[in-house]
Every structure is written in C-alpha cells, then in structure tokens.
Amino acid sequence: MSNMKDDKNINITRRGILKAGAVAGLLTSSVGPFIRRARASEPIKLGILLPKSGTYSVQGEQGHNGATIAIDDIQGKVLGRPVELVWLDENGPQTTQQNMHKLIQEHKVVAVQGGISSGDVLAIMPVAEREKTLLMATGPNATEITGANCNRHTFRIDLPNYETVRSVYPSLSKNGKSWYFLYASYAWGIDGYKQMREVLLKDGGKVVGADQTPLGTTDFSSYILKLMAAKPDVVFLGIGGGDLTNFLKQFHQMGLTGKIPLSSLICNDTDFWAAGPEAASGVFPKIWNYTGSQNTSVSEQFIKKYQVKFGKPPESEAWQDWFGCTAILTAIKETGSTETNKLIEFLEGHKFKGYKEREMYFRSWDHQLIQPTLVAQVKPKITSKYDYFDIVAVAPPKDQPIETLYGSKAETECKLAPA
C-alpha cells in the first residue's frame, strides 16, 4: 500500500513545517531581549522537579499541589515581586539532570525543589553544586544524600533511611526476628535494605530472604510465592508509588493481609488509597499525616487550604513540598535576597517553629531537616476513603534529644566543602 503515497501531500507538510519554524524563530528573537532584561517587577522563579508520569506520578502531583499552597500562603508575592513555579518532569536520572540544567539556564530559577526518586536526586546534586543553585530535595530517602554524597547546595526535607528504619524497628521486632526483604533495585531501596539489615542483625535477627525488584514492576505474585515459602515473621519493603499499590493488592489476593506483618522504609498515603482499605495493613514510618493529634495549628491551616483547593486531603508528599517551598520563601523574605549564598546561610541557622510538635531545623553540617517521625499503623477498620492511619508513636520520644536517630557526624559520613 505504501507505493500509493501522496507526494503532494507530503510536500505541503514540509512547507508547513518550514513556515512554522520561521514563525517560531521570529517569536523567539523578538521575545529574547525582553527576557534578558532584569526588572524589579520580574517574577521570582522557583523550579520544581517532580514526576509527571510513571511509578511516582501521583506523588508528583501531590507535591506540586503542596508547593502551590505555599505560594498562596504569601499571596503570590515576596519582596514585592510575584513568585512563579516552573514544573519540569522528573523521569529517570538523565532526563531529570537535563531538566535541572533547563531550569537553571533557560528559566533562571532562584532555587530548585522536588525529587522523589533518590537516584534522580543523586544525579542532580552535582549540578546544583556546580551551578551554585540551591536544591531543596523534598522527597528522596537514600541516606547518602545527606551522608557520603552530601553537598553545600543541597538541603533535604524527607527522612534518611538511616533514621526511618530506626524509628520503626521497635514496633516491628516484637513480631519476631526472621525477616524477608523486598526492595527497589536502585539507590533508595538498596540503601534502605543495608540500613535495616544492619539494625536487625545487631539485634540478633535473621534475614530469611532478600529480593530486589526493578522500579515499575507490575506483577509481584512470583515474589510473594517466594516469600510465603520462607515463612518470615516480618516482610519489610523498600518499594513505593504504584509498585507498592500493586504489591499490596496482590499480597491481599493471596490471603496474606494481616497474616504476615508488613512494613516499609517510608509510606505515602496515596499508595494505600489506590490499593483500597481491604488490602491495607502494617506499621510504617511516616513523615507527616493529615489526621492525628500531633498536628500543629500551622499544619491544620495547610490541610484546610489544600482541601478547599484540591477537594481531597494532602498526603506526605504534599506536606513535604509545601514545607520545602515555604522554607525557600522564608529564606528569600528574611534575607531580602535571592542570592544562593545568603539563602544557604539563613537555612543553616534558622529554627522553624510551629510546623511540627518540636521545632525543626536543617543541621548545618549535613543539611538534613531534623524533625520528629511518626510511627503510623493502618487502622483496624478503615471507614473513610482517605483516612487510613492511626499514629501510634512519635520518634524519638519527647524526653530524648531530637537528633537521637539521625546519627552522629561520624556516622553520617558527610563532609561539606566550606563556602
């Protein structure tokens, strides 16, 4: 059939493309100089790198939504200039790195926030350092981000695996000490397995099985058959997003929900909402939860605004990006500047009060946000479409120093280069 192709038609298309190209060229050349001129009323741009597709796309949307609330909080303006968010896709280390360059060079952003996958964040951290741009890593959990690979331009909101495994371990070890691990085969999962195994072995526990799962796995049934055969006391996961949803559904269909205790390196509400109440079980470390008496009045206001704007409650990722954006905006406002060095110095010294029960701060020597962690248990009976968790503990307990679980300077292996 291809021999009947219509030459005339293709010619027109080619000419059409040329025309379109010429118009585009004209547009860019006339708009170009206008962009280059800096003005007082010119917007302050903040870059966002969050997934728009794939395993973590749901978290990506929640994160972006959260950041827009932070902009609403300041009526869209700081230092008398409008604030604008530029959201580009986080989709694998290479694409994310390209988009980071694009944000800095084309969009001239003051700072970049976001990052769900630790692999992506580890890829853009050197760019932040080289381009001297502030990177507020809101969603990754690999320990090395504020550990062995830390750098001066990167701050991290989310919890390091080192901390989450230690916060949830006491709630899990009472079920027994023969554990099966299932974890994503990239930076986050691999680091998380290493961290939890260390804690378990030190406590006299045993690893009865450990499997790596490629990111984007849809069918876990073969993994589940394997772990059933190993008869573990606890199944500890290092998977998230759509992968966790799929796992929960299939774990449920094989009749294991509630039979084998389940936990994970971290948990996002949306993964559970998508799996449904029947498939949900387990005890998890959680950075934030929209219900529970631990929430401060600042948190409550955020929840209210989010619900009004988006029609459903915010989950952890929304809070993380809301706080990340708030931290950047606070730094810009308080220093009266968009200069990276000034912002970094401010963030290293500032105490954020009222956001959680205890005051939070970025540790000056590794840039990790020090904050309490929730230990969240799936409710025995879930009655609301969005309310899945009871907060059973806050780690560390109030009588212990807040840095207890984050590791000392020597343990984190972070060495920041001087300014």
């Binding site: 059939m1 291809s2 009947m4 192709k5 219509d6 038609n9 293709i10 597709s53 794939g54 395993t55 796309s57 749901v58 990506g60 949307e61 085969s185 499997d211 790596q212 799962t213 490629p214 984007g216 796995t217 849809t218 069918d219 049934s221 073969s222 993994y223 058959l225 394997k226 059933m228 055969a229 759509g242 949803t245 799929n246 559904k249 299939q250 269909q253 094989m254 009749g255 949306t270 993964d271 909402w273 998508a274 799996a275 449904g276 109440p277 029947e278 498939a279």
Partner: protein, 292 residues
C-alpha cells in the same frame, strides 16, 4: 535450594501471568496482522477498559462490566477507525503510526483529567476471592478465572477467523487487499470491524487486569511494552505466535524472579533479542510480501 513445590507454583504462576500477557497482546497482534498497522494506542484502550469498568461497576457489577466495558471500548475503536485512521490507509505508513501515538497520549491525558492522576481501588469480585491448592500448586481463584476467560476469548477469536465466512474474508484481505477488493468485497468495513475487535480485546484485558494491577493512567504504558515484546517474539500478526510468546515471557519472568529477581524486567527484552537473532520474523512470523 528451591524445592519442587515452590518450583511448580512458580511455573503455574508464570503460565497464568503469561496468559495475561497473551490477552493484552492478542488485540495488538490481530490489528497488525489484518491492517498492517502498529497501534501504539493499544495500551490506552487497555486502560480505558479498566476505567470504564471502574465507573460502571457500581451499576452493573463485576460480571456486567466484564461484558459492557470491552464492548464500549470496541465501539470507541470503531469510531476512531472510521474518523481518524481510514483517511490515512493510502498515505505514508508513518502517518498512521504518529496518529496512534498521539492518540495514546491523548487518551492517557483524558483519563488523568476525568479520573485524576491518583490510583483507584478496584477489588476482585468477592465470589472470586481466596485461592486454591492443587497438590503443590498454589494459585488465587481470580487468576484462575483470568486464565479461563482468556482461553475462552482466544478460542472464540480463533474459531471466528478460521471457521467463518467472514473470517475467511478477513484473512484473505490481510494477505492481498487489492485482489479481495477486485472480487467485489468491501474491505473498508472489514478493517473497521477488525480494529474494533482489537480494541475490544484490549478493553477486556484492561478489565481483567484492574483487580491485579493498579488502576492509574500510567497503566497504559505498563501494558504496551510487554504487549509489543510478545507480538514481536511471536511473529507480527500471528495469533499462535502471540500465545506461545506470551506464555514464554510469563514463565521466564516468574523463573527469573525465583533465581535472579533484579533482572525480572529485562528478561523479556533479552528473550526478544535472542529470538530476533535466530528468527528475524519472530517465532511464527511468516514471509508476507506486504511487510517485506
């Protein structure tokens, strides 16, 4: 070492998984075989099947959506063929390829707009909850049902193509459209019907996969890759090839998870490379003048 029980269970699980792959791939294979068209939107029709089931289930129940949803997706397929694809048959093949690619993105974005980016819970019907033990083999009742439904659907498609008059026209039209047209048979309607049938099968796969995997817009991407791999391994356009290839991929994935889990996603691509090196037209791909 791995005991026999576990090995047998994995084998069985791989076969069931394989049938799911076959079901996703078979519509793609039929459309290619008959229309010579690579339908990039196949995964999107798969997702559409799941989403329609999600919306209609409260009204007609699971058994109801198992019929209704694929028929609706098939009907949408008919409209798409009539309005978008038919004008392109005599043009550059690249154009229809680009069209289906664009359509895939469009449908996925539509799903995101109408139902949101978030996943939706979708359980297996309660009468198919639980699991069965046959000796060493452990399998969930729902997966068993998927297996049975897939076999019934495949048998129906095969009987239709091989044993009916209409099926004979379809097969002849796929080999030599010009000759069939000269015999006075109107192929336009045949093509439209086949595209609709392919979409219907995609929709059915979507409904059946919904309780197993997540109902999210990205389920379209998750389905299209294995479907392509299965069709390529089996030989483009071969129904028999799609079945053998689907089962091969399913069992390989299950076995890789047992012995070398980290490679479980890449194994199907390895399989595809090996098959293509040994048999460039795929396992059951025949020499068709149209495609050479």
């Amino acid at each position: 070492m791995v005991d026999t029980t576990l090995f047998m269970s994995q084998l069985m699980n791989g076969l069931v998984l394989g049938f799911l792959f076959v079901l996703i791939a078979v519509g793609l294979s039929i459309i290619f075989g008959m229309l010579g068209l690579v339908n990039f939107a196949h995964g999107a029709f798969f997702a559409l099947g799941a989403y329609l089931a999600l919306t209609l289930r409260p009204y007609v129940g699971f058994s109801g959506v198992l019929f209704l949803s694929p028929i609706l997706v098939g009907a949408i397929g008919l409209v798409v063929e009539r309005l978008l694809l038919r004008p392109l048959y005599n043009k550059e093949p690249l154009l229809s390829l680009l069209l289906t690619f664009g359509l895939a993105l469009f449908i996925q974005e539509l799903l995101r707009t109408l139902w949101g980016a978030m996943g939706h819970p979708f359980d297996a019907p309660s009468f198919l909850a639980g699991f069965v033990h046959y000796g060493p083999v452990f399998v969930t009742r729902y997966r068993l049902a998927v297996l049975v439904i897939t076999i019934v659907l495949l048998a129906a498609v095969w009987l239709f193509l091989e044993k009916t008059r209409y099926g004979r026209i379809v097969r002849a039209g796929s080999r030599d459209p010009e000759m069939v047209s000269m015999l006075g048979i109107d192929l336009k309607h045949v093509f439209m019907f086949i595209f609709g049938l392919g979409c219907l099968l995609a929709g059915a796969a979507g409904v059946l996969a919904a309780p197993l995997w997540s109902v999210v817009p990205s389920m379209a991407e998750q389905a299209i890759m294995p479907a392509f791999v299965v069709v390529v391994i089996g030989g483009l356009g071969s129904l028999r090839g799609a079945i053998v290839a689907g089962l091969m991929v399913g069992v390989s994935v299950a076995m890789t998870i047992q012995f070398w889990p980290v490679a479980s996603t890449s194994i199907m691509y390895v399989l595809m490379i090996v098959v293509l090196l040994l048999r460039p037209r795929g396992l059951f791909g025949e020499r068709w003048e149209r495609f050479e």
